[in-house]
Symmetry: C2
Subunit: 423 residues, 2 copies
């Protein structure tokens, strides 16, 4: 018997029938002798529908009230799921984030979990109840107001509760079969990754893989919570995200690259004709930082002819208008010539802890791209990742070329036992 | 400047436009210099929709979870209303019943308010915020679980808060213009009652007037909270429900009857051939009490021929199947012959504190019914009320006859200054 946390997303509880199906799975886990704590998202499109309603009322609603509104979504799905479990003969109690002891900062809409005080959950689990917790929400430590953790943060709630409850593991049920070596829609030969370490999963999540949220993986790594990402529509095993463990046969050593991720959500901005003087670049990025713009990759090219430089950076395309506005505001002060942008770009990343000990990964990656006729725009690397920016139209060819070059195709049967990207 | 509590029902906040309209009215009150605490119901049909969803999940959901589900409705409307107020330049904060300090019993679905601890509301009002409280809900004193107070109990929340906050009065905004001398759909000449005392309002609410809930009026009487029932669609004054005060001109003395109420929701059950022995009738009503059936009127007729009696009583028609089941279960034990019922009945009541000091009201009422050709089935009286049961088809004629007989028609211009029934 173990204590486990299970998390089900909105698509798993979109209507009454799917809520009953999820309830059956939970009750089966309970009947296997486990203590079960479930984290639940809002049903289907509920959160979007509530946001639409708020926009009809006010173009800029206060964050406190928006959180009060949105948290109704998980409250409803949690209560309905508890009813469905009761209807199948087990006992269940639903708790809001506040009742569950999810203590957060007061940053409405994007609060961070400070602490979990799971006294009520512990009591319910001990007396044999299945506990259902509304995900995505908590209560602010200082103001006692209801908060939300940001979109998709129910995964984070689940991992945080697993850590606080000392659960053996956290299961994240989703609508895909696990984490894959590349997006199966781009690469039909992509394979499910049975095991992946936190660091690789972090890089995948940060570079376009959508199956797990970055904050969830960060939390799991920090608290050493094993996470099992799996399909809510089958009983097949999915992907285990956990600390690196040396496996029999030493297969991990053989894996150069674990997966290929891609991201189409970024844009590229170039500030042209920046006077090549100390402090000008810093001023540019200060202005962007003050506007809360998250910069990803940066390249600076000096011009030999006119003592100016061009500063190029990538950022979420959604932030582009704000960034350009912030730059225009300092154009006269800095004295640059122009701003140009390109939103038809994509980032392709190869990720794997194996590259730490194996030279030649960059060469193999770039050769594969060249052979596929893909031109490289920008380059960035971390210890376990190489990312390139390419034309958006070239992204599928680039991902497929990298996937093949590193022996990830399922037909190859080569050394790589685990590797991957989410979809 | 006064402190006031305003309550708006679900039909007043059915969509984004009506929420904005309500917000304008609230902000106007605030701009008049008042401290404003608002109690809000769920939008339109939200509560019914949530109940439907619960029924799709489980035929008999646990009360705790049903309360968790249903309370989402007021949470959403409260947050949206706060947003609408912000959008109009005032500041507002929404509170759930629990946050507002509405402490209740743990009787899920029908909890009673035990206490109000309005610390957070007081603080918000003092710093100039408009406070929006989710009606119909609270938190159980012992279990800390979320509770609901029963359908329509937002009125009660409002009156209870008005008492706890020491408000000058409580305004109940609704979709009618106030309390009327009779249902205007039956009696076109019915008039709005400008003032009515708690006792009369209690009798009206208990006997079919739907404009205010019984528990709300009971609470208002006990705590001496003046209640102003008025339309959310106009600025016209409605009906003040308050302690009796002797008005200039002594018009109250002149009022024999304040209003005529009617109720079509009851049924009549007759237990036939009950052995005329000590304890048999008690056994019948014990069985009904154990089945949680609220009995209204009772008549027992002894038969001279065979030493049996017939026991006839009225009850909510919705409880009829349960009542008949409970009676069938004791039929052999008691030895009665049969159960017959009639759901095509109606109750018509004339109500007024004036009848305490004026004899002849019964005679005038029954004469009016006789002249209208209405046959009387059962009769019940209180100190300030006379009720009769008649055929359902006769109810309109009976109500109109009584309304005219006691000088309540608006054309009459007679002595009666205040009088009435809700519709």
């Amino acid at each position: 018997m173990a204590r486990v946390v299970q998390k089900f997303g909105g698509s798993s509880v979109a209507d009454a029938e799917s809520i009953k199906r999820v309830a059956r799975r939970i009750v089966a886990t309970r009947n296997d002798g486990h203590e079960v704590c479930v984290v639940i998202s809002a049903m289907g499109d509920t959160t979007d529908d509530l946001l639409d309603l708020a926009k009809q009322i006010s173009p800029n609603p206060p964050g406190r009230e928006l959180d009060m509104l949105l948290t109704a979504g998980e409250r409803m799905s949690a209560a309905l799921l508890a009813m469905a479990i009761h209807d199948q003969g087990a006992t269940a109690v639903s708790y809001t984030g506040s009742q569950a002891g999810v203590i957060t900062t007061a940053a409405h809409g994007n609060a961070r979990i400070i602490d979990i005080t799971p006294g009520r959950i512990e009591k319910s689990l001990t007396q044999g109840d299945i506990v259902i917790v509304a995900g995505f929400q908590g209560v602010a430590q200082d103001t006692k107001d209801v908060t939300t953790l940001g979109r998709g943060a129910s995964d984070t709630t689940a991992v945080a509760l697993a850590a606080a409850l000392g659960a053996a593991y956290c299961e994240i049920y989703t609508d895909v079969d696990g984490v894959f070596t590349a997006d199966p829609r781009l690469v039909p030969s992509a394979r499910r990754i049975p095991h992946i370490c936190y660091e690789e999963m972090l890089e995948l999540a940060a570079n376009g893989a959508k199956v797990l949220h970055l904050r969830c993986v960060e939390y799991a790594r920090r608290e050493h919570v094993p996470v099992h990402v799996r399909s809510s529509f089958s009983d097949q095993p999915g992907t285990w995200v956990a600390d690196v463990t040396e496996e029999p046969g030493g297969t991990m050593e053989a894996a150069l690259i674990t997966g290929v991720a891609h991201d189409l959500s970024e844009a590229k901005i170039t500030v042209v004709g920046v006077p090549d003087q100390v402090g000008k670049a810093a001023r540019v990025f200060n202005a962007l930082g003050e506007a809360d713009i998250n910069i990803d990759m940066i390249v600076q090219n000096a011009s030999v002819s006119d003592a100016t430089t061009a500063i190029t950076f990538t950022l979420p395309d959604a932030d582009r208008p704000t960034a350009i506005e912030a730059l225009r505001a300092i154009q006269a002060e800095i004295g640059f010539q122009d701003i140009i942008y390109n939103d038809q770009i994509g980032k392709v990343s190869v990720i794997g802890v194996g590259m730490r000990s194996h030279p030649g990964v960059t060469a193999r990656f770039f050769t594969a791209l060249a052979e596929a006729g893909v031109n490289i725009g920008m380059i960035a690397t971390s210890e376990i990742r190489i990312s390139v920016v390419v034309d958006e139209a070239d992204v599928p060819a680039a991902v497929r070329a990298a996937h093949t070059a590193f022996g990830l195709d399922s037909e190859s049967g080569e050394a790589v036992v685990y590797a991957g990207t989410g979809r």
